[in-house]
Amino acid sequence: MKHLFRTLILAAALVAAASFTADAKKKKADLVETYPALAPYFSTPVEEAVQPDELGFIRRWLLLEPISKPNRGNTVFVDSYIRKNLDTGWNKGEFTLPKDGDKETMMVEYQKPVDMTAGRPMWGVEPETEMKKVKLTWHALDSKLFNVKLYRYAVGTETGRYGLICRVVTVIDCPEDIENVRLAVGSNSASMWWIDGEEALIMSGDRRMVMDDAASKRITLKKGRHILTGAVINGPGMSDFCVRFIDENGNPVHNYNILNK
């Protein structure tokens, strides 16, 4: 009797688990509902497509959960460092557009616990790091602000705080050719950006997020869809970015749609 009861319980549990897995496959949990700390900064996308905001900023993004990259400060972010650490897997032929909920497995550098007996890290002692295999998830989000608060994204989803690389993607759909525009970015801290797998911009150094801090060369966005990808790295402190296209006179470009798939 006891054995039969145990079997029934186990069968019921298996059915419930199977049902839950099926539901999960059907619909990914709403990230903002799961992590209310995101709510002041992000919302879950509902419409099929959106346009840039009044100032031309792109607010719809797919964001990979932060990749740990310990750094004691941002002054190490020189051009060669940025290329080595951010220019990975984003170029033409190396990258496929992720979907909300897709996962990526990778080896990631983590910082070992720091000796805080003095109330702060010991001077002159470089923190030790170790490599770990992790599985990170892509999330589709709309930013409520013109700038995408990566620090709030990491802390809000309990996936990190400092010393992170955030990889971001969006898709823009142009109803016609848009000539002679520039991708204009502000990022905290350094970042790199690609359009359809071609490098558009590199922003090295210890940067604050400044609207139109750097701009790409003149480009023509041909009619149709384009994948815009970026990677932002930060050591300690706030991290965020803002992206828009500007015309020859520095005015925002609006005439395209933004998708996340």
Partner: protein, 478 residues
């Protein structure tokens, strides 16, 4: 022999320095008229007849033709004709003062043109032998608000007067009385800007070579006929006048102002130095930028070759090579851990030798970044004499100090840093001071397009727009 070589080297350096600061060729002239552009060439006329011609605005030679002799002409373009005014003097210094102001027209200023030919000169004003006015030194001005044409005249001998002319004929408008608008000036002329009429005149001693104290002053009025008050509220009829330009280090006796508007926000003034110590103390043509400071015209400086921080007006960041920032290995010294009695150590700046090995070979992008006085941010500007010039200046190559790495325009209207200077127009830069004291930097290869901050950290080329700080730069000498 060594001494001779040294002297030669010093002399060469002096010549190079001179060439960057003064008009080249044979710019010998006294009392130059306002510079006129005609069919791609520049013209100015002087006392005694004739004048100078320049094909590029920098190299000037004789050859302009103005009949009638006399003194201190001026010129203005009205429609498709040029009106020239000049004076038949009654004697000048120590002589009588029975002067006559005359005007005449020409369809072109090019003496080789088949259309060249002056109309018969007509008198528009005169002075008696001992009148409180000396009817010479004409200055022509068309009021942009009314289209009415005026000619100011007079010298140190009494009043400056103004006669209204018919802009169709160049003759005096009958029935008008010439008002007194200033006193004891020479070479007066008027200009207009932002609701103000400005009367410029030359004070000081004329015609005494290196000892001439000639200097150009200005007063302004809301009315075309004055009163013209200086910055202290003194009427120019009472001798008022705010300084526009006076003597320089090696040139003295600035006189006979003429305004040339090159572009929106780019204005230049022509005048003569009574004497240039670097040119046999001759009287020479000078061209300087006009700055407008608090509503007053001020003579700008001639740009000098040298090593500079090139600072964007947009953000204040510095133009630089896009290379890895190399940290200086100097220990951080937090104030709270410092021994107050420790001896002071003076650290050197980072040197080119310390970093150049980290720079990539070949072309390197240009960037704009925080000024740190690092080798990748220090630009040396050198005159390229064989490249010719433009109105008031010569072309420069712009290179990272101590290297051949040269700022270059690209065919797709961008900028980069080439590994070496190749003498092409894309590597020759025109440096002009704008009316607000900032500079525009324009490659010879794409006139009209200037070095611009299209983002805080990104330089490129865009069309010149005086109203955009993107297009403006400051040169900070190092």
């Amino acid at each position: 022999m060594k001494t001779i070589a040294k002297i030669f080297t010093a002399a060469s350096f002096a010549l190079i320095s001179v060439s960057a600061l003064a008009q080249e060729g044979q710019p010998w002239i006294h009392d130059p008229s306002t510079i006129m552009e005609c069919d791609g060439k520049y013209y100015t006329f002087g006392t005694g007849g004739g004048g100078l011609i320049s094909e590029d605005g920098w190299n000037w030679f004789g050859g302009a033709v103005r009949p009638g002799g006399g003194a201190a002409p001026d010129a203005i373009k009205i429609g498709d004709r040029y009106l020239i005014a000049y004076s038949a003097t009654g004697g000048g210094l120590g002589g009588g003062h029975a002067g006559r102001v005359l005007t005449m027209w020409n369809k072109t200023l090019d003496p080789n043109s088949p259309d060249f030919g002056y109309t018969e000169a007509i008198e528009v004003a005169h002075s008696e032998i001992d009148e409180d006015c000396d009817a010479i030194d004409a200055g022509l001005f068309m009021d942009p608000n009314t289209g009415r044409l005026y000619c100011t005249y007079g010298t140190y001998f009494g009043f400056i007067r103004m006669v209204e002319l018919d802009p169709k004929t160049g003759a005096k408008v009958e029935g008008t009385v010439d008002p007194n608008i200033a006193i004891d000036c020479e070479a007066t002329t008027m200009i207009y800007r932002d609701g103000w009429y400005y009367l410029l005149g030359t004070h000081g001693t004329c015609c005494d070579g290196v000892n001439s104290t000639y200097n150009i002053v200005v007063g302004r009025s809301k009315n075309v006929t004055g009163p013209f008050l200086d910055n202290m509220g003194r009427d120019m009829v009472a001798g008022g006048g705010k300084m526009v330009i006076d003597g320089d280090d090696r040139q003295f006796g600035a006189g006979h102002f003429g305004r040339y508007i090159e572009d929106e926000g780019i204005e230049k003034m022509s005048f003569h130095w009574e004497a240039d110590l670097d040119r046999s103390a001759r009287s020479v043509l000078a061209i300087r930028p006009i700055l407008w400071v608090n509503g007053w015209p001020v003579g700008g400086e001639a740009f000098k070759a040298g090593t500079y921080e090139i600072s964007s007006v947009r953000r204040g960041y510095a133009l630089e090579l896009a290379v890895d920032f190399v940290r200086q290995n100097i220990a951080r010294r937090g104030g709270w851990r410092m021994d107050p009695d420790e001896p002071i150590v003076v650290h050197p700046n980072q040197t080119l030798e310390e970093v150049i090995g980290t720079w990539p070979e070949g072309e390197i992008p240009a960037r704009i970044g925080d000024w740190m006085n690092r080798p990748h941010q220090r630009w040396t500007l050198t005159v390229v004499p064989e490249a010719g010039g433009y109105l008031g200046g010569q072309y420069y190559k712009i290179q990272i100090e101590g290297t051949d790495k040269t700022l270059a325009a690209t065919e797709d209207l961008d900028v980069t840093v080439a590994p070496a200077y190749d003498g092409s127009d894309a590597q020759l830069w025109r440096i002009e001071q704008a009316i607000d004291g900032t500079y525009r930097i324009m490659p010879k290869s794409t006139p009209g397009y200037v070095l611009s901050s299209v983002a805080d950290s990104t330089p490129s080329l865009t069309k010149w727009d005086f109203n955009s700080d993107n297009c403006k730069w400051n040169f900070i000498a190092k």
